[in-house]
């Protein structure tokens, strides 16, 4: 019954999405139309949420008469991973996608009260159109509730790499972020239809962009850390196509986040903001397509299915094509709003947007370039880290410098007086750069520049607070300061780990010692151990640098359902960085391959990511609180 109830809810929700689209675009009295659309959107969101819960329930009970459960779960799996198994596969993850889309539509219907009625109705119509396509995809090409004629005796299990707390949170967080951007997209479409692109639209769009951006930031940061400790390769970013697929919406959302502020505060950058809102969600859809169709060679090996790929591609072409066609036809009527001068907050934010857009273009071209080349010439090639680092990183550093400048400028026109405050941070940055140049010749110039820019930005990010009464400073300003400071922290981690990481690959017998960086690692023993659904060989390492001894236990694990080998790195986090150890294969004569890394400051990368998200959360909270207070006063 559970599966059938879920499926029925899904069909009903799909019908309501159709109704929502129909009601929104039928001519008639706007007032009633908008009420009906609101109600429909809310019920639709509730129904699809119910369907998702039914799937989670089927996984929680390991109902092996459901095909999806039998293929992806196992009765012996820990319960947390049973639940996570509901979205650790194609059908389940697409249901999650549609669920978030539906719930976003419902929340838009509930919370957006201040927007122009017509724009709002059109936006809900656009949201309904989006949902409808993905409902069709789910029901016709990826039914998660399909039954088996005869229940399976036992499930096939979940890929052990995915049996990790990281998987429980990483995909849903990213999905929430991806799809949160759909609301910005729908609002942009609605505003283009009615022609009302103004500061009210920006204010309605802003919390969605901010919320989605926070979740994308968290999702990418968590995904990066998960890959770092679970895959056992010791790296935190690989410029893999699927990673890029998550980075591109983030870059677009970051640009949008800043331009939407210009539109809200100054009623400027109208067409550009609308355009960015469309680009951001388009990037989410392209990302989903790249991931789900499996057409790009990636470490994220998802199941490849040309029929499903075609289906999503048709949806993508339809939605993105229609949105940009609408933009081409309607944006001519928009003027760009009040002018501003070259030295102004607006100009700095335009600079931010240009740089982010160019970086987005670089990542996009690099990700799809092999595909274009093969389509035109038939040659196969791959684009890797050297391209992305050489082309995108210098621009990112310029952008980081601009972060120090922009918040110090006034809207519209500025004398540049407050820029003098940057003198001390600039001096700090230059000093750091000079010291690094002398102390570490070689190593390349980019990481040194990165550390110098980070050293400049760390104090500079706090300058907007200088001379202000902190008690009367709005929470959003603190949010901005913390997010910008987070950028400096992450940049420090990236550059420092790039410059100072030490790596040792050795074949050692138990009893022998190895040295990596400041650490002396004593290889104690290798013993077999067992977990709930795996067995493992576990090494015991005693690591010391000066003071006390830390014990690390890296494992080589063997899962039986499905049969898979994984490496479980053991990581010791100290104040200055991380010691990262991996147990490899036997190397003969009683020796074992050991891979040891000393990664100074590497933790700052994810700490920075968390700070950026925290800054976003403070800004969102600050706006919500202020909005409430304003409503109470009026």
């Amino acid at each position: 019954m559970i599966a059938e109830a879920g499926l029925a809810a899904l069909w009903l929700a799909a019908a309501l999405a159709l109704l929502q689209l129909f009601l929104a675009f039928t001519p008639g009295p706007i007032r009633n139309g908008s009420r009906a659309v609101r109600a429909v959107a809310i019920v639709e969101g509730a129904l699809v949420l119910f369907a998702m819960l039914m799937l989670v329930l089927a996984f929680a009970r390991t109902d092996l008469s459901v095909l999806l459960v039998a293929e992806n779960s196992h009765s012996a799996k820990p319960w947390l991973y049973k639940l996570a198994g509901a979205w650790g596969n194609h059908e389940g993850s697409m249901l999650l996608w549609v669920t978030v889309l539906g719930v976003c539509g419902a929340m838009l219907a509930i919370f957006s009260r201040r927007l122009d009625e017509r724009t709002f109705t059109a936006a809900l119509g656009a949201q309904g159109a989006l949902a409808l396509g993905f409902f069709a995809f789910l029901l016709f090409a990826s039914n998660p509730f399909a039954r088996l004629d005869r229940p399976a005796f036992e499930g096939r299990g979940l890929n052990p790499l995915l049996q990790d707390p990281g998987l429980v949170f990483h995909p849903p967080t990213l999905y929430l972020g991806y799809i949160g951007l759909s609301v910005a997209f729908s609002l942009a479409v609605g505003a283009l239809i009615t022609g009302k692109v103004d500061s009210a639209l920006a204010k309605a769009m802003r919390p969605w962009v901010l919320g989605a951006w926070i979740l994308l930031t968290l999702g990418i940061t968590a995904g990066s850390y998960w890959a770092y400790y679970e895959l056992g390769w010791g790296g935190w970013w690989f410029w893999d196509p699927v990673e890029n697929a998550s980075l591109m919406p983030w870059l677009a959302a970051t640009a949008l986040l800043h331009s939407v502020n210009v539109l809200a505060a100054r009623d400027s950058l109208r067409a550009w903001t609308v355009m960015l809102a469309m680009v951001a969600f388009s990037m989410s859809m392209i990302g989903t397509f790249l991931v789900r169709s499996g057409i790009l060679t990636s470490v994220h090996a998802f199941a490849v299915d040309p029929y499903r790929g075609t289906f999503i591609l048709v949806l993508l072409a339809l939605y993105v094509g229609a949105a940009f066609a609408l933009f081409a036809l309607r944006s001519g009527k928009l003027d760009e709003g009040p002018p501003f001068e070259l030295v102004s907050r607006e100009a700095a934010l335009v600079g931010n947007n240009l740089l982010l857009t160019v970086i987005l273009g670089i990542v996009f071209v690099g990700t799809l370039y092999p595909l274009f080349v093969e389509a035109v010439t038939g040659d196969k090639l791959s684009v890797g880290a050297p391209y992305f680092n050489a082309v995108a990183v210098p621009l990112a550093l310029v952008l980081a410098l601009l972060i120090g400048v922009g918040p110090l400028l006034n809207w519209r026109r500025d004398s540049g007086e407050r820029l003098k405050r940057l003198a001390i941070p600039a001096l700090v940055g230059l000093t750091v750069f000079a010291i690094l140049l002398f102390a570490f010749p070689g190593n390349g110039v980019l990481p040194k520049l990165g550390l110098a820019v980070a050293a400049l930005l760390m104090p500079a990010s706090f300058l907007p607070l200088l001379g202000r009464k902190l008690k009367r400073t709005p929470l959003t300003t603190f949010g901005m300061v913390i997010a910008h400071f987070g950028v400096a922290v992450a940049l420090t981690g990236m550059s420092a780990s790039e410059m100072f990481t030490r790596e040792v690959l050795t074949a050692a017998r138990p009893g022998e010692d190895a040295r990596v960086g400041p650490w002396l690692v004593h290889f104690e023993s290798v013993t077999p151990v067992a977990g709930p659904n795996w067995t493992a060989l576990q090494a015991e390492l005693r690591a010391s640098k000066g003071g006390g001894v830390s014990v690390l236990k890296p494992q080589a694990r063997f899962y039986s359902d499905p049969p898979t080998e994984t490496t479980e790195a053991a990581i010791e986090t100290v104040l200055g960085g991380q010691l990262y150890t991996v147990l490899g294969k036997p190397a003969g004569n009683g020796r074992w391959q050991l891979r040891l890394w000393w990664k100074p400051f590497v933790t700052l990368i994810w700490l920075g990511g968390a700070l950026i998200a925290l800054g976003g959360a403070l800004a969102l909270g600050g706006r919500a609180w202020r909005g409430r207070r304003l409503r109470h006063e009026s």
């Binding site: 397509f289 060679t297 040309p306 993508l316 081409a328 595909l371």
Partner: protein, 174 residues
């Protein structure tokens, strides 16, 4: 400037076209041998089982195109491929075999159970020939033309519906 507003639509169209092309032409992850278009390597190995002739590099240049089939008695897909090889033989395609990492008695048992389509078989006990041909596994089949040049590589078992095109390819290599 007015036309510029249609630029995003154009970009989307180009991207969608490229993605459609990719869906229609899925990426081929198999690694093709680098030996295609080159002469067959030196064959110093011996016969795979007593009473069955071996073959040499020189014999592959005698003007008759052939299929060179890498197989093994321990390879399950090779069992599936055996009837297809028999069919090719029936249609007049000369086939020689290379038994990879195998023992004579196992090869003999394999051939008696699943049929022997081979004119000659050499033993490749340490996969040296396999490496020299640029083959990555069993079964794999190479088309060698009358002048001893490797013309094509077929990775994995030959399927029944591939027989006609393979027969034509052998004809064309004459």
């Amino acid at each position: 400037v007015k036309g510029l507003r249609f630029l995003p639509v154009g970009i989307v169209a180009v991207i969608v076209a490229a993605l459609v092309w990719r869906l229609a032409n899925p990426p081929d992850s198999a690694i093709q041998s680098q030996m295609i278009g080159k002469p067959v390597p030196q064959i110093a190995e011996t016969a795979a089982l007593p009473g069955k002739p071996a073959f040499t590099q020189a014999e592959l240049r005698d003007g008759r195109p052939r299929l060179v089939n890498f197989f093994a008695s321990w390879c399950v897909p090779c069992i599936a491929e055996a009837p297809v090889l028999a069919e090719l033989r029936k249609q007049g395609v000369p086939i020689v075999g290379i038994a990879v990492r195998d023992r004579p008695e196992d090869v003999a048992r394999f051939l008696s159970e699943h049929g022997d389509p081979f004119e000659a078989i050499v033993a490749d006990r340490e996969s040296k020939l396999q490496l020299a041909f640029g083959s990555a596994g069993v079964p794999e089949t190479f088309l060698v033309d009358g002048r001893g040049i490797i013309r094509m590589e077929h990775i994995g078992p030959i399927e029944p519906d591939e027989v006609p095109s393979l027969v034509r390819a052998v004809e064309a290599a004459r």
